[in-house]
């Protein structure tokens, strides 16, 4: 069974309101932030969040779509991926 935690990455040109916009959408879907880190890499704003989804019948596709749309509006790329994708690749 896959994890109920998701890695959300936000990458793009830095500007005012990225964190506010993204977290607002997350709140609308009742997605909780467990951990958050933010840095500038290669001149790009890079935010990585570990998020927890608690509902059993969570509509992941709708959430991913909403996050992508929000990202597009803010001019950044947003990805929502299950945590396992990274754990499997980098941890034994």
């Amino acid at each position: 069974m896959s994890s109920s935690r998701f890695i959300i990455t936000v990458i793009g040109i830095d500007k005012v309101g990225i964190v506010a916009g993204i977290t607002q959408t997350m709140a609308q879907y009742n997605v909780n932030i467990v951990d958050i880190s933010q840095t500038i890499m290669d001149d790009l704003f890079t935010m990585i969040m570990l998020a927890q989804i608690n509902e059993d019948n969570f509509d992941l596709a709708a959430f991913q779509q909403a996050m992508s749309a929000k990202g597009e509006a803010l001019g950044v790329e947003v990805k929502v991926q299950n945590e396992d994708a990274f754990r499997f690749m980098h941890r034994i």
Partner: protein, 453 residues
Amino acid sequence: MLVHPEEILETIKMVSNENLDIRTVTMGISLRGCSHPDIDTFNENVYNRIMYYAKDLVKTTNDIQNLYGIPIINKRISVTPIAIVAESCDATDLTSVAQTLDKAAEDAGVDFIGGFSALVQKGMTPGDLKLIRSIPGALASTNKVCSSVNVATTKAGINMDAVALMGKVIKETAEMTKDNSGIGCAKLVVFANAPEDNPFMAGAFHGVGEPDCVINVGVSGPGVVNSAVRGLKDPTLGDISECIKKTAFKITRMGEMVGREAARRLHAQFGVLDLSLAPTPAIGDSVAAILEAMGLESCGTHGTTAALALLNDAVKKGGAMASSSVGGLSGAFIPVSEDEGMIRAVQRGSLSLDKLEAMTSVCSVGLDMIAVPGNTPSSTISAIIADEMAIGMINKKTTAVRVIPAPGTKVGDSIEFGGLLGSAPVMPVHDFSSEQFISRGGRIPAPIQSLTN
């Protein structure tokens, strides 16, 4: 956070910049219960059986793709070799079975279906012969059906009658699909030591020792390996091997995760993970580019076989560490038309058919997606197959031949297939005849390597 941000970004970069993908999720379905003397009833059984297992395959793999954010490029089905399950059919022509497979593939929404196949390494049954004779018509009248014929094994030797016949079948298939540059031949593979659990097309079929329904996963990523090797600063060959091994490990882990989740959701057994560096026509997603990154001016020059041996071995080692279910072909593929670097190497004159043959003795498959002139005699194609089968037989490995004698073409022409099949420069073959050798028929006996018991 459990996983370091840099590692997260590394994974994301692999997917978005370096073409890392799950190349295929292939569902193997046994058709052993479908046999029936009446071909219409048989076809109905086959269709129902495939749809029963595969109806949710595409939706499930799409869900998994979205869950992990890793592209799954192809969804495919492999079935029990049709020659076996159609043996008892009264009909002499099996083209309608291929059309049934095509319809099932279409309705299930998959990209390809493999298993219009026969295993004839030691001899042919009437059913095998019916199937092989039906191949040209089957490939000309379907879009998604792939066909393969195993004509040699280390244990049985080489069935030279089948080799001679396959030369003719390939020519006939090219002729019947000449309006599309002989594309039928791109869906036809001749094998030595064919694996029974290979998820990659065109050679996939569901072996007789397999369970009822199984999920096999093929992972790719030449672009990732290419980029990792190019990132090294003045490396030794040992450093390169180590780097490829680590990269292969990471890629394989990703495939293992996807395969297990797909099998769980589809209530199928998880079969094997096949880590094969399968190039695509995208720039940089190329096995030739990896060999050139090791320091060769152009793929095909002296040193290419050694570089490929290093690459293939390091890929296997990384894969074997990452999963206990590594199977299929697992290594590096060297299809010419699908690899932008190979195409360039042929065009600039550094890569020949003979060099490709040498390369196949150290990598996972064989002469793959190679266009030869349309007037190449069938005995020459058979002889190309025989050489390749000998390499597989003696070295106890899989080898395969997928050549396209594109009708009306000559050396220097280029054939466009489009999509993942790419474009193939027509390569020269030797003009000296192999006719007499091939017409002798019979069997090349199993080698001394077969006496292992």
